[in-house]
Symmetry: none
Subunit: 271 residues, 2 copies
Amino acid sequence: MLAEERRFRIREMLSSQRTLAASDLCAVLGVTAATIRRDLAALEHDGVLVRSHGGAVSRMSSTNFQPSYQTLSHVHSTEKHAIAREAEHLVLDGETVFLEGSTTVYELACCLNQRKRLTVVTNSPTIVCQLQRSTGVTVLCTGGDLQKDTFYFSGEWAQRALSEIRLDKAILGVSAIDIPYGVSTANHAEAQIKKMIMKAAKTRIALADHSKFGTQSFAYVGPVTDIDVLVTDSGTEAKYVKVLREMGIDVLIAGATGTKRKEQNTTYSNK
Amino acid sequence: MLAEERRFRIREMLSSQRTLAASDLCAVLGVTAATIRRDLAALEHDGVLVRSHGGAVSRMSSTNFQPSYQTLSHVHSTEKHAIAREAEHLVLDGETVFLEGSTTVYELACCLNQRKRLTVVTNSPTIVCQLQRSTGVTVLCTGGDLQKDTFYFSGEWAQRALSEIRLDKAILGVSAIDIPYGVSTANHAEAQIKKMIMKAAKTRIALADHSKFGTQSFAYVGPVTDIDVLVTDSGTEAKYVKVLREMGIDVLIAGATGTKRKEQNTTYSNK
DNA sequence: AGCGATTCGTGCAAATATGTACAAAACAAT
DNA sequence: ATTGTTTTGTACATATTTGCACGAATCGCT
């Protein structure tokens, strides 16, 4: 087998598997570990992957693209992950959904790679990159100005794109939710986009970990009753859950107990 | 057996096999390794294949399993890199430029991270992700439908965004350039986008390595005179350069020693 | 914190591939 | 037939790849 062929197959595997174990590669490709190591070194040099002890992690369509995302997602990452896993069941095959950029929604996007017949609209370049290899998912992007603080698109192009579509479901992260005040966010442009997403979707699903409750932020998005389904973690105080449910909102609590989650980047050997 | 027939059979084999081993070709065609090497060298120059240690890899998109970013990014990467470095000087601080998704243009985007006061518009999510951390660069994205084969945005949203802007410079990769026929590309949607980019820009800069010359592809983009500046590598035949210059096109040759054509993906240890 | 098991980096040697000079062979045209 | 051109085979020096080996670094587990 040609060296090129071998490396091509490694690339190929990386498009379906985010992580590869060096030992597995030795067995599958029939070469020694030294050769695999050299292959991985070469592919790392080409920017295809990032090596890690025992194997490698894909660099395309992964969180390695933006460190800001990584640093952010470390915060409450266990809860975010549980929330994403819970929200995944709300997305059905054949639907058209909006995924609004936010770290929690990004986690959700990672779960959707294997879906068939799903249309995703998003204002996040990171989510686009995450989903670009999944053949079963049609991806549309609003485009617009890239906000340097949040890494989402906003602005005129994004707004007009949103004004022209109707969605089965919109999934968005919220940065602040308060019962009397409503939902708010730090960025005015982001608030504008969130309002339009709300308007375009039949079902509005919000993801918020427990730290977001009872807080207010600069730019007002809308009342909490704009939300149809709210997914949060078990750390949220019961009083919030109770009041929201009384207001007719479907509150889902993601079970985050005991699931000791390790950092995504270092678990390369899992199948 | 005629040399022409031998090379035809190699082409034929490449349409069913992505890679060919030189040793296999010797056996099948009944000639020595030296002859096969000369054949492969000739076919490489014609842009049919890319040589690699021990054989060759098909370059024709129809046979490539995924003629995507990753597959092609290592092909002619030395030339692409040199071209990108050369084109970098054409982008000036303070300008508004369009970067059209293509592997060579992506290389260029990587060089622009440190710029101050630069506005970049692009239809490539990969380029957005590449530039999103650079504080000095304002990034806009056309949005649109994500093409699963090329990973660029196209479609209505992309077209309308392009119809509303005027650019100092547009930088695009070309997949096929032929003197009488003009510029063409494999994808119809991509050709549409390219046309609009051409229209929106005051100065149109095309990047093309030597293998693109003298080739035609499915979808017509426009005559070669649409191009103001063409950046290529030193492997391009002099006749093309001469004719294009006579037509008033500013042809820049990226400095690379013509004889030494090492494959980047096989040299991982240097530097 | 310590320890055994893996894994990593790398020098070395064998095998293989590459580029090229040169001669032989095939071909084309008078 | 002969002459000039192109192509192919041979030979050989150089370059690359790969497996093996061994010390160093890292990981997982107690």
